[in-house]
Symmetry: C2
Subunit: 187 residues, 2 copies
Amino acid sequence: MEVSKSIASWEVLEDREVFTAPPWIKLSRQRIRLPDGREIDDFHYIHLTDYTLVVAQVPDGRFIMERQYKHGVGRVSLTPPAGGIAAGEDPLRAAQRELLEETGYEADSWQHLGRFACNANYGCGNAHVFTCRDARKVAEPDSGDLEDMEIVLLTEEELRRAFHDGGIAALGAVAAVALALNDALRG
Amino acid sequence: MEVSKSIASWEVLEDREVFTAPPWIKLSRQRIRLPDGREIDDFHYIHLTDYTLVVAQVPDGRFIMERQYKHGVGRVSLTPPAGGIAAGEDPLRAAQRELLEETGYEADSWQHLGRFACNANYGCGNAHVFTCRDARKVAEPDSGDLEDMEIVLLTEEELRRAFHDGGIAALGAVAAVALALNDALRG
């Protein structure tokens, strides 16, 4: 790609907390200076907990997915194991912990597919996407989450089909699975 | 996939607005009844504007991408054309409007790859992902957005490379591009 244009960052002149629901949510109202000198008085930045998404495969190649009601989605759908990163916790450690807590599986070989801001305008925390292979069951699930869930092992074909019938309904889930199924993007 | 377990939705007993920045952001504090009868007093739901993401290709196959600073990301990165859906606007119409406004391109052949909740817990609006082919330039860009941007045409190889050097940094952008590059997921 030829880059021909210099693009400057925005400058935050002031950041004032306007809503908080600790430890989950914090909203700031920011005063911003744009590169052209204009000032914006009321740009809102939404701080949410960073989280991990884990696309895990068992030795026969099937994917460990969770069928659950998620309130942000408003219905039952499929999602890879996912969960918040505790303050100071290493994202890979958090991913391994969530996989074990939610599904009872462990794996040795992990790959980090990237860290992505959940909302390009407001922030909304970052999602860290991981894959792992040869996961094996070592314990019973014990997530402590509010959600009731069913753990399902899906073939790649079943996972692809889930895209087309709306079975994967959250943006993080679809990003993680689409990245994991796309070998060329795994590098 | 064999579904063996019945999973119930949560019931919203009360929904109280606790923060608003019209017309962009609204936060509700909800009282929830879980399927097992437990009640949660302070579940927060974040209402953000639904938006579209458009992965558009010109006749030679290159992808129309935007290089810009996005404040939620905190740095310059690549994103497909994207923008908010106006109240009552059809998502496809919004996608076509955003493509034209931001890039000056139009296309006839469109595909809807899905509608995804931006945050599985909090909502945060929905992202509608579209692709289109044979886009042709019919006007000069005139987005009216705060962001300064450069429009770049990237080959599939360049786009794939952008994943690996962190060039695509927002979750919606990565989901849209990963879906569009994955023929088997396009159906």
